[in-house]
Amino acid sequence: MAELTGWLLDVYAGEQGLTIWLLTDNGERRCLSQTFPVTFFAASQAVRQGLDKLDLPAHGSTSDLRAAWRWLSSQSEPLRLARAERRDLFAGPIPVLSIEVQQPAHLPGLFRRFSAAFPNLTFYDADLPISLRYGAVFGVFPLCRCCVEVQGNQVKTILALDSPWDLDPEYPPLRLLALEPDCNPSHAVPKGIIFSYKDIRYRMPLEPVRALLANLKSILRTYDPDMLLTSWGDTWLLPKLLELSQANPLPLNRDPSALITRKEQRTYYAYGQVIYRGAQVHLAGRWHIDKYNAVMYHDYGLDGIFELARVTGLPVQTVARVSPGTGISSMQIMTALRQGVLVPWRKQQAEAPKNLFELVRADMGGLVYQPTIGLHSNVAEVDFVSMYPSIMSHFNISPETILPGENDPQTGLPLTRPERGLVPTTLQPLLQKRIAIKSQLLCLPKWDPRRKRYQATASAYKWLLVTCFGYLGYKNARFGRIESHEAVTAYGRETLLRAKEAAEDLGFEVLHLYVDGMWIKKPAFATPADFQPLLNEILTRTGLPIALDGVYRWVAFLPSRLDARIPVANRYFGVFQSGEIKVRGIELRRRDTPDFIRETQQQMLNILAKAPDAEHVPNLLPEVQALVHRRLADLKRGRVPPEKLIVRQTLSRELDAYRSPSPAALAARQLADRAAPLRPGQVVRFLYTLGKPGVRAWDLPGEMDCRTIDVARYSTLLERAAETIFQPFMSEPVETKLPLLSGLYMPNKTSLLQEQAAVNWISGTA
């Protein structure tokens, strides 16, 4: 028996039991195996619903379970069957048929046949990722430091030496090989591949193929990387290499006995957007991560992916490619496994019946005010810290703790059971660690190397926490129930209203409320310390932590584009006392805004941010206007590089499904005869051009004639973006301001400005 210490890299089902990859302290990459039978459960639906005592027809009843036992006994896989009692999250302890599968690799196939043969049974723990099962039993997780006792290559015991909640875990010294084609394969056909390992970097042509493959093979053998970090590796590079090396396979996998796993591309609809996910290529024994197919890679990078693997328990390759929703579900599954709660195969909790009045009361979202339009100075923005997760944790909101239809008679808020719920139990450490990291970030100096990783972690956690709330009400979430989702928003509204009342009681004017944030001002209040008593008061009244996001020198809430009288909840820009600019909902935040427009709008704001306070902003308007005139002139004289004018838009449907094609669809059609046509959710890049069809796809081969650019259209876009910035400063009498901007504004704007003046007069802000 020998003892190894190192990092757990991967766990997956192998030919015999589990395959476990360990990177030991002396730098060995050890491939170990372990016997690990896995169990899933079947119950009759009648039992689960407590209907077994009624006289029901035979299907879905206990007689089905007896038939299932007989069926399972006749299967070829080695199994161990037993009657047992386990806890359903909602129904409590129930009798189940326990099916222990000796080889984890057999489970998916067996379960597929079993569930097809017995569709009326309810299944539990049937489709859980093996890494979660393993983590639940041994307390280990991907990338954890662990101590392993082995006999030969067989793992006897494994013990975690650190915790996912450590702030500064020790990371393994990984060998990382980067591979990328010399151009984006969806834009042009690559001619070569660029390899880099530490400081070594070289490019090899795709042709001749024999040389390429021989070199690649020797590189993989020599460096034996733990990870391939690729660009377009999922969607182009690895499929291409696999195709080229069919006759003479490359050692892409480090585990020669395992297969390379491939997954199809798909498009789906979530959070109001069409999302495209490319095909996937997963390796065994080493990781493959495609920067362009990893979720949020641009946001939190490898640091975030490693951190997510540690806290969710999902393998590194998986967690890099799944949505935060899958991440938080995995954490809930882990909590359930540890508490001995059954994990349903499919969600079963339907909405409880409600009458119309109850529905009208319950089916509401967060509280979103219409802000007071116009320019305001010395405004404080205060935000609740992770409001919805804090509410779930503080008020113990979980699908099983909610008592549907039971409300507090005084506040009208939903009541919950006292036992700690599954969701709050899962969230608590995550919330605490995020708060700890955020407070560390506040005191770490700018040069500290930990900053980058802390920021990535905070960002990755943010997404887990945000989706945790959404998943409470998501129809496919295993531990979801719409009533608990509604309870969170009910507490959210109550909390925000209590904060508003506290602010008004202390003499503040409330300019805006937005779900978890509040914008307030009070004459002569301008420093962060001025607002501290209010924060304390809100904490007392709500029980939830609230923080000052900052004090704006000035902030402008913008009206609707269509009607200047109508405020818009999330369209504003302002400058904090630190000089930091914050913008929401304006052109420069939009993904389809060309760089030229975005940069100009940003520069306009940078000029305005120089003013020490709101009174001095008008002095800077001539400078801003001069900038806009210069940029317009640049555009008209062809001094703007065409790549700065590229519009990026996401296709929302298949090309044939457009009835009147959008510019994006027209551009995509120009590219349609290429090898891989664009799919819904993918981005198409184009320029606005003169004549029909009015657009030119940027990725069309051949030179583009710059004289065909539709300058007038881009001028209009620029003028509109400029107008957004000028608009809040135009509420003074129209005549005095117009000459300043006369070169910029079209005549029909006058009526809009007069209207604005009238609205200001009516609302008393003039």
Binding site: Y271, L356, F357, L359, V360, R361, D363, M364, G365, L367, V368, Y369, Q370, G470, G473, Y474, K475, H485, R493, L497, L513, D563, R565, I566, P567, V759, I762, G764
Partner: protein, 90 residues
């Protein structure tokens, strides 16, 4: 995630649209006043949503009334201030 019932903004837009025929038959000057009334109700959509009244238009009418009353109060203040100052001036 999806909602079962229309949001307060959707309710508002539906109610406004249902008066399209009424609005069309008004004089142009009255149309402007009517639009103002709807715009003033729209400033209170958050409160209307929170109220969750089964008949949302009642809340919108009250919101219009509220904005009207704010104006009355402001005008009254102006007039009173004016009346107060005038004797001193004269």
């Amino acid at each position: 995630m999806g909602r079962t019932l229309p949001s307060s903004t959707q309710n508002f837009l539906q109610e406004q649209a249902s008066f399209a025929r009424f609005r069309r038959a008004l004089r142009r000057s009255d149309q402007v006043a009517l639009d103002d009334l709807f715009a003033s109700a729209r400033q209170h959509l958050a409160a209307a949503a929170y109220a969750a009244n089964a008949l949302p238009f009642e809340t919108f009418l009250l919101a219009m009334l509220l904005e009207e009353h704010k104006q009355v109060m402001r005008l009254r203040q102006l007039v009173e201030a004016d009346l107060h100052i005038t004797p001193g001036d004269g």
